[in-house]
Amino acid sequence: MLGWLLQHRIALFRAFSQLARQPVAHLIGVLVIAFALSLPAGALRLIDRAASLGQGALHEPHLTLFMKQDADDAAVRAVWDTLALRTDVREFRYISNAEALAEMKALPGLADAINALDRNPLPHTFVVISRSPAPQALENLRAALAGLGKVERVQVDSAWAKRLDALVQFARRGAGGLTALLAVAMAFTVFSTVRQQVLSSRSEIEITHLIGATPGYIRRPFLYFGILQGLLGSLVAGLLLWLGSRWYNDAVQPLSNLFAMNLQLPGLSLREWVLLGVAGVGWSWASSYLSVSLTLRRIAARC
């Protein structure tokens, strides 16, 4: 057991030595891994932030019901009573046309224009909040309300959120494609780096193979090398994401204030750090394993 552990220690030490021997060349490999991890991870974080904003809107599903211009108090009362009785309506608010006009008049620059009108052009309005955010439930409620007497139109206000959600899904697919492409690039980088390492150690591999080294023994330092590269790549990717988040948060601060929305990206969570590490190390290990196995098979065939 002690001997086995020692062999692992030696293999790890050799992998470190390989990295230290050509730091600049290996730094490029580490940076490729870091970019391959941080670009899709950063894109996914932005998409998730946008999705959470959209989800917030979807969870507050508003409908706006506009009455016809000629709707009288009785028609308004009838709609009120219907809304009060419906179990799929969580709450509603009535805005009379006079109230809406007063609000508009309060807006700078509009008062004179409104005063010039000979009649109130605004309809009586109900803002309705559905109990369910499900698109089908919203559509059912919209259709039911649209059928009431003296109702001009019912508008689902979360439509923009639905569109955002569709965009988010599309962006997620794009990020998935980007992730796959960069994963291939990362695998190729690790594969060729490890292959170079194996080929440059060819005579040592042949000799150790002849005098009793198992394939596992021969593979070990190269796998550790791949793991180290992946680990360093993951760390650099985390650093890039942290710097990217800071830059983005500074840039988006004025927008957040303007729209009174939290557009800021949170710092990397422990789960995200672990995911980055697992992705970087796991993928590098797999690429190294494939590379060293294929190259060793070729060398063994010529031994």
């Binding site: 001997g3 002849l210 009793g212 080294a213 198992t214 394939p215």
Partner: protein
């Protein structure tokens, strides 16, 4: 110790290096495998070393049928065999003692015991004063002795050498053979391939002659004179 039964070795290009070799080598024997170039000596030695597997037939080393062993098990079996190569196959970026220690490191040995065994192996081949030197600084004969030190450092019961004196002049070749004789005297089974045994004084030993992939003669020498 080694048993071959109707062993055939055919390479992917169709060349049949061995065409049905049957023989037994007992523990403690000293065997010289002779024959012209292309007779199948190196192939036979590679098979008996567990470096290659036969295409057909049965081959057991230390009682283990190598055709049934996994790649890893076969590698572990090779650790119990000391191998000496004509071209030395040394790591030129490592010192003499690091080269000699390689089989021990592969076997997972470390520390004081490793150092002691390496020192002893180098002393046996007369390289104890050059432990820190690079193999590049050694002469051809010294490199072959280092190769022997590496082969015996694991204290194997079987040493197989492929043309160990091939590149050496007669003086160095005799010195190398003396080293093998001393191991044989200590009970180690020695198998040596040589294309020319006529000019060398062989000890009491067995001579296996190969011709076109078959054993053409299997004889014993009784004197230490040249055959």
């Amino acid at each position: 110790m080694i048993a071959l039964n109707a062993v055939v070795k055919r390479y992917p290009d169709g060349h049949e290096a061995l065409r049905g070799v049957t023989l037994d080598i007992e523990g403690g024997e000293m065997v010289f495998v002779t024959g012209r170039s292309g007779a199948g000596k190196s192939t036979l030695l590679r098979l008996m070393s567990g470096i290659e597997r036969p295409t057909s037939g049965a081959l057991s080393i230390h009682g283990k049928d190598i055709t049934r062993l996994s790649t890893s098990a076969l590698a572990r079996l090779r650790r119990n065999i000391g191998l000496v190569f004509q071209d030395h196959l040394l790591l030129t970026d490592r010192s003499v003692e690091e080269n000699a220690a390689l089989p021990l490191r592969i076997a997972g040995l470390h520390g004081k015991e490793l150092k002691q065994r390496v020192a002893l192996a180098l002393e046996k081949v007369g390289l104890d004063g050059q432990a820190k030197a690079s193999p590049l600084a050694l002469s051809g004969g010294e490199r072959q002795r280092l190769c022997i030190a590496r082969a015996i450092v694991n204290r194997p019961r079987l040493v197989i050498a492929d043309e160990p004196t091939g590149h050496l002049d007669k003086g160095y070749a005799n010195a190398i053979l003396d080293i093998f004789k001393s191991f044989h005297g200590a009970g180690v089974t020695i198998i040596i391939a040589m294309h020319d045994t006529a000019s060398l004084p062989l000890p009491n030993s067995r001579i296996l002659s190969l011709e076109d992939g078959l054993v053409s003669a299997d004889s014993e020498t009784e004197s230490s004179e040249a055959v």
